[in-house]
Amino acid sequence: MQLLQEILVVDFSQFLSGPSASLRLADMGAEVIKIERPDGGDICRQLYVSDVKIEGESTIFHAINRNKKSLAADLKNPRDLEKIKELIRQADVVMHNFRPGVMERIGLDYATVRQLNPSVVYAEVNGYGEEGPWKDLPGQDLLLQAVSGLAWLSNDQQRPPTPMGVAVVDIMAGTHLTQGILTALYRRGVSGEGGLVQVSMFESILDFQFEVLTCHYNDGHELPVRSAVNSGHAYIAAPYGIYRTADGYLALAMGNILVLGELLGCTPLAAFTDSRDWFSKRDTIKQLLADHLQTGTTAAWLTILEKADIWCAPVINYDELVKQEGYKLLEMEITVQTSNGLAIRTTRCPIRVDGMRLTATQGAPMLGEHTDEIEHQYGLTPKLQSAVK
């Protein structure tokens, strides 16, 4: 039995934060139905990213929406809205990522939906919460990285604020939404009661920084100071960071500077006998290491360091990654197929259940691809509805 077998999710969300949450639910066995506008659908379909497209749609859309179904409905059309309400009566989860007030205008806010279906779990994710001066602003990943201080944690001190190059806010908010939905479903299994789950991207990206923010709250509100040399983490001592070698790059995590100096033959490090200096003088130490490590190849250094159980790794790109035995053994790649036969290679769910990898074969849906099927299956057409009753 799949973990979320027989859980029906009605998903109004677009782009990444909400859809990444429903992707995880689908991965674990839920039936996810995307409700999309008949003219264009999920805006992400049209979001041509870089110059790579699959079926004329962005690669990103296909990555996010595998294993889901699509029902096209114009929520401003009363007939369509009634169909959707019938589907909601049968749903376990209703989720959206509209800005505050939009679902109220459509007539599918929590209060209304709860009357249709008292045991429903209603989940919403937005940019900045329901209160405060930013509540109506767009919840976009880079903008959230900008306002949350996150951009001051990566890259070297002399560099400008640097965003993380993956949509980390969307992804964190999506995982928090999933956690909330599953928690509410668990509670429903105990009490029979549904619930309202709310997540904002702002709260999620603050939670992501919980270790370093707690430091800031309690250290007299000092700002983070990034290392000037190969910065890896603003709050961690030398040697933490990535170093250029004669033929590539080497990552060094936490380690004893004296031991490192000896192993690597970097004699000036022997002077740093007080371990407190490994933080306070980290830039000096790291510069010495940086100069020294350029004199040998990555493989040569790794041979020395791994033998001594030093925390180190080569720094590799995707071309090198996919050749690694450790990568291949994970079987992280899956191929999903759209209904018109297009095969797309993507990654699978990272969670394993009872020793099994969770894979999927169904690709992202065409806009409205499952409208008829879902109307039949859930009795959404007026004729079928009366037949059911």
Binding site: H233, W311, N317, P350
Partner: protein, 381 residues
């Protein structure tokens, strides 16, 4: 204290540092009773791991941050009598979490097979660095190493820079979050079929999943992600995406139509670019924007952009952020009462039925709840 959605669940945490303890923290926030099982004498190595030499008591502030609102039970797992106690406790538990290297729990007699025989309803959840097989299985599951081995460091920083890591323990946090999702979904299944489950996540798989958009694009075209040479924001996105210096600070520009942007900024020369050029010529376009934005303060540009509904925000540091009403409205901070002193930390980011989940309970002292746990769970009268 109000009722919480996971009230009544007992979670045993055999874990250290961040990945698995961050999963335990989320379950505790949502109402589970989370008990750390620790070695007598030392306990979780995270107790002595401090940043900026900040301590709440004998334990670091960092440890309290990650382990607040949990209990501690000390047991020497090599002593058969102590192990028997822990096994009794496991019979009462709903969830077990660990992040030992592959094989360690099995050697102690606490592997999945042994424990599911002992308690068939148990959700057994484990975190590894790289999965349980392969050449890396005994490699330390450390965040920076995982970033380096998954290609992630080639997504951040400008094109002329060497690989740049994320300055937060991204692999640990994501993997902890994945584990929580698996545990909760398994608890839902258990409500239907009465069966426990084995849930496994690794730092490596979590970081690959995190890059699913980039990897799917890479699998399709075989080209390395290319960082922008000017204010890189995201390898797949067109100009103007990135952070820009202004006369008095920095401004973030997300996706926007370059024509509308040119009009909003009253900079007609941007109008000469079309929709195809914003990706193929993004560096030269971004350089032109960077030169323009450096001439006036952030507020000047922000007003013009937001008036047209364009996606822009100021770049704030934590001090500026904390003074902002938008931050205050979240009520994200909470005070925890540690033995030595009170400290402020963040709360759980998930709200249910409008409730913000807070708790003033600190991390446990080593073995603090042993007697109580024996009384309440192991030998209830």
């Amino acid at each position: 204290m109000n009722a919480r959605p996971l009230d009544g669940l007992v979670v045993l945490e055999f874990s250290q540092y961040l990945s698995a303890p961050s999963a335990g923290l989320r379950l505790a926030d949502l109402g589970a009773r989370v008990i750390k099982i620790e070695r007598p004498g030392t306990g979780d190595a995270g107790r002595k791991l401090a940043i900026k030499n900040l301590w709440a008591d004998d334990n670091s502030l960092l440890f309290h941050t990650i382990n607040r609102n949990k209990e501690s039970f000390t047991a020497n797992l090599k002593d058969p009598e102590e192990l028997a106690l822990v096994q009794k406790l496991i019979q009462k538990a709903d969830v077990l979490i660990h992040n030992f290297r592959p094989g360690v729990m099995e050697k102690t007699g606490l592997g999945f097979d042994a424990l599911s025989a002992l308690n068939p309803r148990l959700i057994y959840a484990e975190i590894s660095g790289y999965g349980n097989a392969g050449p890396w299985k005994n490699k330390p599951g450390q965040d920076l190493l995982l970033q380096s081995l998954t290609g992630l460091t080639y997504t951040t920083g400008d094109a002329d820079q060497q690989p740049v890591p994320f300055g937060i323990a991204i692999a640990d946090i994501l993997c902890g979050a994945q584990l929580v999702q698996g545990i909760l979904a398994a608890l839902i299944r258990r409500q239907k079929n009465g069966q426990g489950a084995l849930i496994q996540a690794s730092l490596m798989e979590s970081l690959l999943d995190f890059q699913f958009e980039l990897l799917t694009t890479y699998y399709a075209d075989g080209r390395q992600p290319q960082r922008s040479a000017v204010n890189n924001g995201h390898t797949l996105l067109s100009a103007p995406y990135g952070l820009y210096r202004t006369a008095d600070g920095y401004l973030a520009l997300a996706m926007m139509d370059i024509q509308v942007m040119g009009e909003a900024l009253e900079h007609p020369s941007l109008l000469r670019f079309n929709g195809d050029q914003v990706f193929s010529e993004r560096d030269s376009i971004k350089q032109e924007i960077a030169t323009l934005l450096a001439t006036k303060p952030t507020a000047y540009w922000l007003q013009k952009l937001q008036a047209r509904g364009l996606w822009a925000m100021e770049v704030l540091n934590w001090q500026q952020m904390r003074e902002h009403d938008a931050y205050k409205a979240l009520q994200m901070e909470q005070t925890v009462h540690a033995l030595g002193k009170d400290f402020v930390t963040t709360r759980c980011p998930v709200r249910i039925d409008g409730q913000r989940f807070t708790s003033s309970r600190p991390a446990p002292q080593l073995g603090e709840h042993r007697e109580r746990i024996i009384e309440e769970l192991i030998n209830p009268s």
